[in-house]
Amino acid sequence: MASVVAAPLTRRRKELRRHALIYAGVAPFVVLAVFPIYWMLITAFKQDPDLYRMDHFPFWFNLAPTLRNFKILFYQTNYGSWIWNTFTISFWVAIITLLTAVPAGYALARLRLPGAENTGIAIFMTYLVPPIILFLPLSRVVAELGLQDSWMSLVLVYPTFTVPFCTWLMMGFFKTVPMEIEEAARVDGCGQAGAFLRVILPISLPGVLTSVIFAFTLSMQDFLYGLAFVSPGDQKPVPVGVPTELIRGDIYYWGSLMGAALLVGLPVAILYNFFLDRFIQGITGGIGK
């Protein structure tokens, strides 16, 4: 009788011990990953006198939390315009990316063009040409087009990395759509374009949406292009404006700086989080499986 009761108990205890060990192992990683973000969060809501003291416990509020840092941000800086610029840039980058990458991905995956596979790889490889090599020549292109010092220059250059990546992504995506669906559409009287627009595109909506998300999140990862091409304070996107405009000489407004960074950074990070597996699949080439 006793042994019957004891058996599940030990199993449960074993399971508990296993969990405890795993949590103990995972905890340092979680702390390492999250602490800088927590530190930004709490800094953003602290009053200045609370920030610049070393004699008391810094991980919690010693003075009442405040929204003053955010007020400074919206009333005394161009933060509002940076948010607006970020969204406008992302919107146009997404449009350009969709109009180019989706048809190209379809053509390369499905229309049996000669050398399609190699063309696809060649386009994808351009994703790996680093901005640091391209930004000097591109600064000339931007100047020739009269786009320097305007957020529109970033609309022009961000697709240099979103188009290759999303073409590759869509290529993998379209390969998973069964050929029969397309054949059926053709038999039912759809033309070549009709089959693509009316049958394939609607069922590929998840892939298309993924591309939109990447056009947005990858644009947010840029710093160099924004730094090199856009210098007027009101034309910058958030990731460029915050570090370049909110730091004046050696004076740091840490509270506002952290608030500005988090307000946009955190939503982007969370959005990207959901699509991270797609990103990894995309670059490791496992997407077609």
Binding site: T167, E180, K289
Partner: protein
């Protein structure tokens, strides 16, 4: 629309059944032979993306080769051909050699650290436990947060006086008081600054290593492992002879991507130290930016950036070979 057509197979089957079978076969055959029309359509769809990439990546890349052999600068748009002068003068700059050395040091140390952290994390995430999804979601935040934004947090944590890292270390009794010799000034001390920058890169990319490794592990079919187990292979044999060869291509690709991004990234160092103090954290991208944009010497800046190509080329070739072997 999406709802009904997502179940494309049966749905289209019903519609197709309305067409008599021979007519259907005929129609399919006719579609397959419409070669030239299909090609035209295909090239038309491909053209916008191909043009964008050619005009804004291909052409600028060639243009940067041209800039590198010209004396182009910001003030004087008419450039003259100067041969390899820019490369030679870069070669003779002391700063260039320091930057090259720092770049390689940065890359290697960061790679070792992020592999170690990433591998341990991947093994932990391979286990089944409660709250795994949440843990995974939290640990990847460094990688998904826009880089310029997360660097700011580190800049604040490395503050010369109010550094939270120092607060902890000092409470633990590991360092001295503020104002004394024992108080590390992370970004101001030439001996610490590069390590501080590497730390940020490692923090940002170790989740990437872990997730790539995890993707590799889960791609190994459990049947194969079970079969090997039945055949009497022990854990290490299974790991060495099955898991490692199977995940090697994925690991290689992840590793190469990271190499390209780490070598060419300027934001971490630029935002933390701008390459200083002195030249302690100067890496090639920062030098290229400072020479090309801030000093306005486009030609020499382009030449310095192009020195990255021989460093990156092996990585690019390996990626290419791996992608070509990709199966669908």
């Amino acid at each position: 629309m999406t709802g009904s057509s997502l179940g494309g197979g049966p749905d289209s089957g019903v519609r197709v059944a309305a067409v008599p079978a021979p007519a259907r076969r005929l129609a399919v055959r006719r579609w397959r032979t419409q070669g030239s029309q299909r090609l035209m359509f295909g090239y038309a769809l491909l053209a916008p993306a191909a043009l964008y990439v050619l005009l804004l990546v291909g052409a600028p890349f060639l243009f940067s080769l041209y800039l590198a052999v010209s004396d182009a600068n910001v003030g004087d748009p008419v450039a003259r051909f100067v041969g390899l002068e820019n490369f030679r003068s870069a070669w003779e700059m002391d700063t260039f050699w320091i930057a090259l050395q720092n770049s390689v040091l940065f890359l290697v140390i960061a790679a070792v650290l992020k592999s170690a952290l990433g591998t341990s994390l991947a093994f932990l995430l391979l286990q089944d436990f409660r709250g795994k999804k949440l843990v995974r979601g939290l640990v990847v935040i460094p990688f998904t947060l826009p880089i310029a934004i997360s660097v700011l947090s580190w800049k604040w944590m490395y503050d010369s006086q109010f550094s939270v890292i120092n607060w902890v270390l000092s409470r633990l009794g590991l360092i001295g008081q503020f104002g004394t010799e024992g108080w590390p000034i992370w970004l101001g001390d030439p001996k610490l600054a590069l390590a501080a920058c590497i730390m940020v890169n490692v923090w940002r990319t170790f989740p990437f290593s872990a997730i790539v490794l995890l993707a590799g592990f889960t791609s190994v079919p459990s049947e194969v492992l079970d079969a090997a187990k039945v055949d009497g292979c022990n854990f290490f044999q299974r790991f060495r002879n099955i898991v490692v060869p199977m995940i090697a291509p994925i690991l290689l690709i992840g590793f190469l991507f990271d190499t390209v991004f780490t070598l060419s990234d300027l934001s971490v160092v630029y935002l933390l130290t701008q390459g200083g103090p002195g030249n302690a954290t100067k890496i090639l991208p920062v030098l290229a930016y400072q020479v090309g944009i801030q000093a306005g010497n486009l030609g020499r800046g382009a030449a310095i950036a192009l020195f990255l190509v021989p460093l990156l080329a092996p990585a690019l070739v390996l990626v290419l070979r791996n992608l070509k072997r990709r199966e669908y």
